[in-house]
């Protein structure tokens, strides 16, 4: 098993995608946060509460949470590239116990997700505090709370990356899997929120669970107001975290089970 994890780390670190992923974490964390903080949520279209309010801070943190499709797509990309480049057969020749291969990938990408989440949350914190200090604003939440919320977002990134790995291992076709992951996480859930009746499901979907982590209801509230549908009540943060973990576990379980018997042609 240690051999397999070592091999997966070598496989990941030898690609350019790895550096691209870390760069994306810094750009989304530091870059996007400083841009949003510099412009100020009150100047968004439509305008949102300012950074000096709790809702304002939660909102821009919540928007950061929406970038979770990026690590998810990276996980999917990494796993499906084994099928696309036909190395999966070679891998299973070296390690015929396929569940071990999938488990090693999950361990490796769990660490990669942690690195991604750390960089994302770290650069976001740096950007947020620096810009607020430069503008002489005070944030609507105490720094400790902001850091705790960012840490939750960072951990959510690990879960999303593993979700992406799970979907990739299940679907195997790179293009289809990527369309599925990005399409659902980036657009699908937002569209679901607009459908009356279906939007009550939102709190238990991955996006709703992530929003629960930071208690980010602004977007959902705005949408239900706009559409005149019932307001969405998010789960408590702890329940959201548990639910997200359950999603990741389900994805990995499906990934492990589905890989075991299928023919590699």
């Amino acid at each position: 098993m240690n051999h397999l994890i070592k091999a997966e780390f070598r496989r990941l670190l030898a690609t350019r995608m790895w550096r691209g992923l870390l760069l994306a974490a810094a750009l989304l964390g530091g870059g996007m946060m400083s841009a949003m903080a510099l412009v100020g949520p009150e100047n968004f279209t439509p305008p949102m509460p300012g950074m000096d309010t709790e809702t304002g801070v939660r909102s821009i943190l919540g928007i950061l949470g929406y970038t979770a499709f990026v690590p998810a797509a990276a996980g999917t990309l990494a796993v499906t590239s084994e099928y696309r480049h036909r190395t999966a057969a070679v891998t299973f020749l070296f390690a015929p116990r396929r569940w071990q291969v999938v488990a090693a990938k999950l361990a490796t990408y769990g660490v990669a997700g942690l690195a991604y989440g750390l960089i994302l949350a770290g650069t976001a914190a740096a950007a947020l505090f620096t810009v607020a200090a430069a503008r002489g604003d005070s944030l609507g939440l105490p720094p400790g709370t902001v850091l705790a919320l960012l840490a939750r977002i960072g951990l959510a990134m690990v879960v999303y990356l593993l979700l992406g790995v799970g979907v990739g291992a299940l679907v195997r076709n790179q293009v289809v899997a990527l369309c599925l992951v990005i399409g659902y996480l980036y657009m699908g859930e937002a569209l679901l929120m607009m459908i009356p009746g279906v939007n009550v499901l939102y709190p238990v979907l991955p996006g709703g669970a992530t929003a629960a982590l930071t208690d980010f209801t602004y977007l959902a509230d705005a949408m239900s107001q706009e559409l005149g549908s019932t307001a969405v009540h998010l789960l408590p943060p702890a329940a959201g975290a548990l639910l997200l973990t359950a999603y990741a576990l389900a994805a990995t379980l499906i990934a492990v089970v589905s890989s075991v018997r299928r023919d590699i042609t």
């Binding site: 051999h3 030898a14 036909r86 190395t87 020749l93 070296f94 015929p96 023919d263 590699i264 042609t265």
Partner: protein, 306 residues
């Protein structure tokens, strides 16, 4: 030493994909110490069989074992079996060294083994180039290097000659010969029979997923024929046909250019007979039996049957 000599045994192997039977009740043995050619036209089921041998594809019924064990039960499979089943199984962004290092880690082999194989397969200079720019020959060498990481006793190669230039083929032939001479079991599949006929000792021929012939190539191919060119071809043919009244008469068939192909006599026999009858001989060639002929013979005979 006997422990190192591993047989491949395929017994009643069948694979169905829905209504299509890719491999049907296939039984054969591959011996160590020789190179065995696994032959058949495209779509005959060679690749499916090799993937069942290595546990990548699960058989519908029957079994395939290597040294008595199914592939998935081998304790450290890459130490026992090296397989090249795909000509192009690399991440294009990985270098040759990256690729080998991934699988060296997976098999538990040291990095020194990676360097050793890069040297052995003549890839040392290309080691740090990304595989997307590799030629077919380099890809084949990298495939072989990957398969050889664990210094396996059994080597399985699916269509290794595909896309190789004559120099690459020559190199592959001597390389595989050396491996077989070390007592390893070597099975190579091909649909381009002429390319591997100089290389194989034994053959297994399949068509439409069924076994057609198996055994030492020399026995299956039969004795060589003699090709003789003579301006007195008609008289020579008549003389040849009655030359051995006590035994099976030699078979003589005219071929284009006024030549004769003689089965059942060797070149000295034909020359002596021509001299005895004062018939002229312009050319006399011993024709090694070609796999191509054997293969066509075996497959068309079956195809003609209802």
């Amino acid at each position: 030493m006997s422990d190192d000599r591993l047989k491949i045994e395929v017994s009643h192997l069948t694979k169905r994909y829905g209504a299509v039977t890719a491999v049907r009740d296939l039984t054969f043995t591959v011996e160590p110490g020789v190179v065995t050619g696994f032959l058949g036209p495209n779509g005959a089921g060679k690749t499916t069989t090799m993937r069942m041998l290595t546990g990548l594809v699960s058989p519908t019924s029957g079994a395939a074992t290597i040294g008595g064990r199914p592939y998935r039960r081998l304790p450290r499979p890459s130490r026992t079996v090296g397989a090249v089943l795909d000509a192009n199984a690399f991440h294009p962004g990985h270098t040759a060294r990256d690729h080998l290092r991934v699988y060296a880690a997976m098999g538990g082999y040291p990095d020194s083994r990676v360097a050793e194989l890069l040297d052995l397969l003549g890839l040392a200079e290309a080691a740090d180039r990304r595989t997307r720019g590799f030629s077919t020959g380099m890809r084949q060498r990298l495939n072989l290097a990957t398969a050889l990481l664990g210094d396996p006793r059994v080597l399985l190669l699916d269509e290794p000659s595909n896309g190789l230039d004559p120099e690459g083929m020559r190199w592959l032939r001597s390389f595989l010969r050396q491996l077989a001479d070390e007592g390893r079991t070597v099975l190579i599949s091909s649909h381009v029979l002429s390319e591997i006929q100089q290389l194989v000792d034994d053959v297994v021929v399949i068509r439409r997923g069924e076994l057609i012939a198996a055994g030492p190539w020399s026995r299956l191919a039969g004795p060589p024929a003699v090709l003789v060119s003579s301006p007195d071809a008609d008289q020579l043919a008549a003389a040849l046909r009655v030359s051995r009244p006590d035994r099976d008469a030699p078979r003589v068939e005219p071929v284009e250019g006024g030549r004769l192909r003689v089965h059942g006599l060797d070149a000295p026999d034909v020359a002596d007979l021509a001299a005895a009858h004062r018939l002229r001989v312009h050319e006399l060639v011993t024709e090694a039996p070609g796999l191509e002929q054997l293969f066509l013979h075996l497959t068309t005979d079956k195809a003609a049957a209802p």
